[in-house]
């Protein structure tokens, strides 16, 4: 530690950091723009100037930029010095010369870092009376607005979008005071992380487009701490609500998970809760709407029958637990496909095995060698892809250390590193969106990848791999290089996941286990689950109770029907099997937030709450259970699943969680994710509304001039009002960060122990799984199929960030980025079939037709199939696809009902014909 003096006050600070970061860590107010807590310093804006004095006798001092000045022991500084203050005010005056006076109509107003810093600097009078610089804006697609006139040229957008997130279609253009940030031409921003620009931009250049369509000021939004339902990562979000509708999602800082950034599925996918896809009332088999009471009566009548229950990886722990209690553990079945369920067993095993550590995203960022087997992380757990982009920089930091360049000197570290990257080895079929930072790519069919992974395992075991005849030297070399990279690493990480399949996960486990033995300490292993509560759901299941066995049960004499919660069975099994199963019973109760093909078969449909209308606990890929707080009052027609099920103890989420933790061993600590009693002041609550919420008395003035009574929330530590304990006291219920003088999201530093550190109070979370076993290796992999028919293509299902997730696929902004189901093969194959991108391709003998996307990097003999989404556009059931099929080109145009494939972002796409538009 170093000691520094700031305005006469002595502080102990970290000498590895710069002065700005340390001043903020100490809670001092020092304005800045271009510096970002996890993107470091570049010294562009000159806003954080402070006075530094040589010694105690130096009374003049020199102005230095705090962000570019390393901490030195004994440094004497002043923030309050008149010259420093005047200069900082001058910087604002400069930034303001061309900034428009449009705060009242700007989406950023009220949470604008530029507004905050302007007030903090003291600049308050415009002397500039010359002509302002103005710019033309671009249409950047469905997620973001572009208003360049507001730009203060801090370069944060390109530093995030390009340097941090690997985007390629945004750049700084022109120069001097005409500097422009935009695309080469108008068009949708391609990065999966583009939405973060709305938060990274310190003013209103990039703003959330869906939010501005139905806008409210930050201070008028009710906010609560929530957890994203987009994938298994469990990013923390802060949703904002007004007048009963969800307006937007912004990032909620979590030091170990998402840090400051979300992916676009998470940010824009939650709008499904407002969509027409939502079930809003109960219905009987004829489609007649039932009142809540009628529905409850109907449900009670049905539950007299002998029913089995099918749970869901997208339903909360409480919902699954309640269903299990209602039907009994023997009658509670997996909501996974059978193959996914098998994969989930491997995942659960890995979480209990002492040879492994399942890293948080923050730990992923410090992995110095990564192997990904078969999982397309960008499309299945996007936020982790952003962390992997940081992991490749470990080698850069090592080079910088050698040259004594501090890590926060962002541009300098990138310059000295050039293309030096820590190993990122990707074994995948076809191109992935991480290829640009990969140090090694093995591109082959699924079976070939698995063989290579097996060879790697053999190699790690000290033996020579036996390669089948026909294996290329390239494959062998990839195995050798990966082997060397993993062995040389201090902190290797192996990644696979449910989408890669159970074999890939077993091989990943074997490889990680072998590394653990070699290293004589645990090895980092990530096995990604598919959905936001896959792990929570799996933990509640008896191993034998697969979905297949449930379908068998429905044929039994002793079974009258089933209850399905928040699940579309057509996403879990072949169409014919699901149809047969649903037809074989009279009673089919479906409880869901959204209308699904399964719900159309139901004898009773009950509408459940989304994460907005109820609290829920979700368990992420690490086994981390997190509480997502209810955001807004629940409409009478909706109920949480557990309340429809009406089991004992389900009167509140909290009580059900407590019951779950007393009844089920894996969940024994679950109640610890509830706010700790010590943080709860009896009688006082944490307000969801901000202390500045306006118009509460006028909200319903069109109907009643009297202020309505605030909805009470007896079940939560939060209230639906603005009274209570301001969140400065407790970060566990930090719905939206806000601190004196800091109205923007930059206020988060006031809630952190130190910049980039943990929040001051603990998060509402608990790690559920204890590591207490040493499992054996899985049996070695051997290829099951014989020589495939050379006329047939091996079909391999792929995921898309926009479309593959059931809930976000029903969000309007996400839908405008979705494509139809498609098939992809390489140029050679396209030539053979005489087909080009946009043509219809038939899988022979199946009747399935798919739109073609020619992708250069698909291996020979393989066709990738994206099944689309049942929400919109053209889709197929991926379980209906054969393993291999002969393909032929159809002489017909696309269906006019499709979305087309024009919005698809893949790096190896070959467009033979230019897309001219897609208003379909």
């Amino acid at each position: 530690m170093a000691k520094i003096t700031v305005d006469g006050q002595c502080y102990e600070v970290d000498p590895a950091n710069n002065l700005l970061q340390e001043c903020l860590s100490q809670g001092l107010d020092l304005p800045y723009f271009c510096w970002h807590p996890c993107m470091g310093s570049v010294g562009a804006c000159r806003q954080c100037a402070v006075k530094q004095y040589r010694d105690e006798d130096d009374k003049t001092g020199t102005l230095v930029m705090a962000c570019m000045t390393p901490v030195t022991d004994g440094a004497i500084l002043s923030i309050e010095d008149d010259q420093a203050k005047a200069f900082r005010a001058g910087v604002i005056e400069g930034l303001m010369t061309s900034h428009p006076h449009d705060c009242p109509v700007c989406e950023e107003g009220g949470e604008c870092h530029l507004q905050d810093m302007t007030l903090m600097s003291g600049h308050n009078y415009r002397r500039f009376d010359k002509r302002k610089v103005t710019h033309r804006n671009q249409d950047l697609g469905p997620f973001l607005n572009h208003e360049m006139n507001r730009c203060i040229t801090c370069y944060r957008c390109v530093r995030f979008y390009n340097d941090y997130a690997g985007g390629k279609d945004l750049s700084a253009q022109a120069s001097h005071h005409h500097t422009y940030f935009g695309r080469f031409e108008a068009g949708t921003l391609e990065s999966e992380f583009s939405g973060n620009l709305a938060e990274v931009c310190p003013t209103g250049v990039f703003t959330d487009k869906p939010f501005s369509e139905h806008y409210a000021r930050k201070w008028d939004l009710e906010a609560a701490p929530a957890v994203c339902t987009g994938c298994a990562i469990g990013c923390n979000t802060s949703p904002g609500e007004r007048y009963g509708s969800l307006r937007r999602i912004v990032n909620r800082y979590h030091s170990d998970i998402n840090g400051y950034f979300l992916c676009d599925r998470g940010r824009f996918g939650a709008h499904y809760v407002n969509s027409d896809f939502r079930l809003r009332s109960a219905k009987d088999s004829s489609g007649m709407t039932l009142s809540s009471e009628e529905a409850s009566i109907a449900f009670a009548r049905d539950t007299q029958k002998r029913l089995i229950g099918i749970g869901s990886p997208r339903a909360s722990v409480e919902a699954n637990f309640a269903l299990r209690r209602l039907v009994g553990e023997d009658n509670f079945y997996a909501g996974f496909s059978d193959s996914d369920y098998e994969a989930m067993q491997v995942l659960l095993n890995s979480l209990q095995d002492q040879d492994f550590n399942c890293p948080s995203l923050k730990q992923v960022e410090s992995a110095d060698a990564v192997l990904i087997i078969g999982e397309d992380v960008t499309n299945t757990a996007p936020r982790m892809a952003l962390s992997l982009r940081q992991s490749v920089r470990v080698a850069a930091y090592e080079l910088a250390d050698k040259a004594r360049i501090p890590q926060w000197q962002d541009a300098a570290v990138r310059e000295i590193a050039q293309e030096t990257r820590s190993p990122l080895c990707i074994f995948a079929t076809g191109a992935t969106r991480l290829d640009d930072v990969a140090t090694l790519r093995l591109n082959a069919s699924r079976e070939d990848l698995l063989e290579a992974a097996e060879a790697l395992f053999v190699r790690l075991s000290g033996d020579s791999p036996h390669y089948r005849e026909g294996v290329t030297g390239r494959t062998m070399q990839a195995v050798e290089e990966t082997y060397a990279a993993l062995l040389a690493a201090k902190k290797p990480l192996i990644i696979s996941g449910v989408h890669a399949g159970v074999e890939a996960m077993r091989l990943a486990s074997n490889i990680a286990k072998r590394l653990a033995k070699i290293r004589e300490s645990s090895c980092d292993l990530v096995l990604l689950a598919a959905e936001h509560n896959s792990v929570g759901h799996a933990l509640l299941l008896e191993e034998k109770n697969s979905l297949g066995s449930a379908f068998n049960r429905l044929k039994d004499e002793g079974c009258d029907g089933l209850i399905v919660i928040e699940n579309d069975l057509y996403n879990r099994a072949p169409t014919s099997i699901v149809q047969a199963a649903l037809k074989s019973v009279d009673t089919c109760i479906v409880i869901d937030q959204i209308e699904t093909p399964t719900a159309r078969h139901a004898s009773l449909v009950l509408p459940s709450t989304s994460f907005v209308e109820s609290a829920n606990v979700l368990v992420n890929y690490e086994g981390r259970a997190q509480l997502s707080f209810q955001l807004s009052p629940c409409p009478e027609s909706l109920k949480p699943v557990e309340r429809w099920l009406n089991v004992e103890g389900s009167e509140s989420t909290e009580s059900l969680i407590r019951r779950c933790s007393t009844e089920l061993a894996p969940f024994s600590e679950l109640d610890k994710c509830l706010p700790h009693p010590s943080s709860v002041v009896p009688g006082a609550k944490f307000p969801r509304m901000s202390h500045r919420a306006s118009g509460r008395t006028a909200m319903n003035a069109d109907r009643n001039v009297h202020e309505g009574k605030q909805t009470l929330d007896d079940n939560s530590v939060m209230s639906f009002s603005m009274e209570g304990i301001q969140p400065l006291r407790d970060a566990t219920v930090l719905g939206s960060s806000w601190a004196p003088q800091w109205n923007s999201n930059q206020s988060i530093s006031k809630f952190q122990n130190e910049v980039n550190g943990a929040l001051k109070q603990r998060n509402s979370e608990i790690h559920l799984i204890t590591r207490n076993s040493h499992l054996d290796y899985y049996p070695s992999y051997s290829r099951t199929e014989g020589q495939s028919d050379e006329h047939k293509y091996l079909l391999q299902a792929v995921q898309q960030i926009f479309g593959s997730d059931e809930l976000s696929a029903r969000s309007k902004p996400v839908q405008s980025r979705m494509s139809d189901c498609y098939i992809a093969f390489n140029v050679e194959s396209a030539k053979q079939l005489g087909a080009t991108t946009g043509d219809s391709i038939e899988l022979q003998d199946t009747g399935v037709e798919l739109t073609l996307v020619v992708r250069a990097d698909v291996p020979d003999g393989v066709a990738l199939v994206y099944p689309g989404s049942s929400a919109t556009g053209l889709s197929v059931n991926r379980f209906d696809l054969p393993k291999a099929a002969q393909l032929s080109r159809l002489d017909k145009a696309n269906s006019e009902y499709g979305l087309g494939v024009s919005s698809l972002v893949v790096d190896d796409r070959v467009d033979v014909e230019v897309t001219t538009g897609a208003i379909l």
Binding site: D169, S171, G187, R817, Y897, L899, T915
Partner: protein, 180 residues
Amino acid sequence: MSENKLMKNSVITTSLSRELTAAEISEIEHEISLYPDKRAVGLEALKIVQRHQGWVSDESMRAISNYLDIPVADLEGVATFFNLIYRRPVGKKVILFCDSVSCWVMGCDRIKQKITDQLGIDYGETTSDGEYTLIPVPCLGDCDKAPVMMIGEEMHRHLDEEGIESLFRNAAVNKSGGDS
């Protein structure tokens, strides 16, 4: 679902590219051989293409971007940073008129006015016959011969109004002579 018929889907736009000519490619390849990283050649490639095409069109931008594997947005960042890359069509001859301090002291404002009067173009404009484009340039480093300007690759020094008069009158005469 019928509402989807009306849904406007976003389009990942790709404007047209063109093929680089053999001559352009061979010059670009030569430059690539000189640098450890081919992305360093972006500016060189822009200059090469401009030498051949007169200016750098969007299609050329795409072509260079594809050839050098530089994102076209980044290439645009470079192209628009440098004064001598023309992203709009220019005349056959570009007049780089020095308006920096030594030339200014020596009366370049009057010379510039003379050019504007005679050719009917201001800075950034091209004569209607497509012959000349007038662009201001920072100090040309010939200050002892001020005022100066460059037309194409040729320096014109010690400029005065009479000289401008005859220079462009000749040009105009030549042109009409050539046309007839």
